[in-house]
Symmetry: C2
Subunit: 186 residues, 2 copies
């Protein structure tokens, strides 16, 4: 699975982007006379949005999510299910409240996710002995097997995303991302 996660753009005419020499190619939309070209690239507010790390992060996050989902689609899961599974794998049994806090998902979202995972036999809810409100969610053997089987393919997703980066650069990027994520959710 997940060999060619490339056909994201069925019609390959989406990538007419040149790295350098941006912000200038009227070429086609250049003849609606009325307004004289008031483009002053000097004006700071006229910079491209892609020059903004925040927006870049936003777009890249989207692409990353899509990539993860295409990788997971044959298993019937989606990224958020996978996140729950991975979380369960490390904390070994967690209240839904904890999952919600750790993953940054709304408590109501956890319900559906755990429902699905239970239906697939990847996790199950158990009563918490000391608090009858809570349910403890644990990974089943099936869930463990799934994680084991898909681990390698999962790594390939990030590999694919970071293709243009050398290993050392990926490390740098990762450290920076961790720093950025650090103060808020994780």
């Amino acid at each position: 699975m997940l060999d060619s996660a490339h056909e994201t753009h069925p019609s390959g005419e989406r990538r007419d982007r040149r790295p350098g020499a941006e912000t200038r190619e009227p070429a086609i939309a250049r003849r609606h006379t009325d307004t004289p070209p008031p483009i002053d690239a000097d004006e700071p507010w006229m910079r491209a949005l892609h020059a903004d790390s925040g927006y870049l992060l936003y777009r890249l996050g989207l692409r990353s999510g899509q990539l993860f989902n295409t990788f997971l689609q044959e298993s019937g899961l989606r990224l958020r299910h996978y996140a729950v599974l991975r979380c369960l794998a490390t904390c070994e049994g967690a209240l839904q409240r904890e999952l919600s806090a750790r993953l940054g998902y709304d408590p109501s979202a956890i319900v559906g996710l755990v429902d699905d995972l239970e239906k697939l036999g990847f996790a199950e809810r158990r009563p918490a002995p000391d608090d009858r409100r809570s349910r403890i969610v644990v990974l089943t053997e099936g869930g463990r097997a799934f994680l084991r089987d898909t681990d390698q393919a999962g790594r390939r997703v990030t590999d694919e995303l970071l293709t243009p980066l050398a290993p050392a650069e990926r490390e740098t990027l990762h450290k920076l991302l961790v720093r950025v994520a650090g103060n808020g959710l994780a």
Copy 2:
């Protein structure tokens, strides 16, 4: 308008995350006996998902988008409107088709976005003289004024997001993000 783009979390009880010492705090969900702790942190598939740059990117992108939207919310716009505006500011008149390609949004999404911008008087559609199918979208004076007025606040969004990073690190991160984004959309 739009001075303090900070009151992002009305109820400040969402960020109980500590930067260091993650992945270990059973503390509460630690007593559902049945399963013996089969946690082998050695097992590679048991690493936390947050150790994955791809997932980190996904979460950070989400946070970035939220931050942008709270910054824009008083103006009635959302991030995607803002992206269109900024795109128009640099290319000065673009077919909707071009906006779609540049921003990576579906053509059908552009329609609604430009509709909204037109309603707010920030942009307008003009007929393309050589192709009556196309409409050329141009920034109005109002749109230019809006960009001028909100520019500083816009920068503050990225500043806020990258708080934990020193200026040099932000530069590094930005360069890496550009590289990653480079091969696909922008």
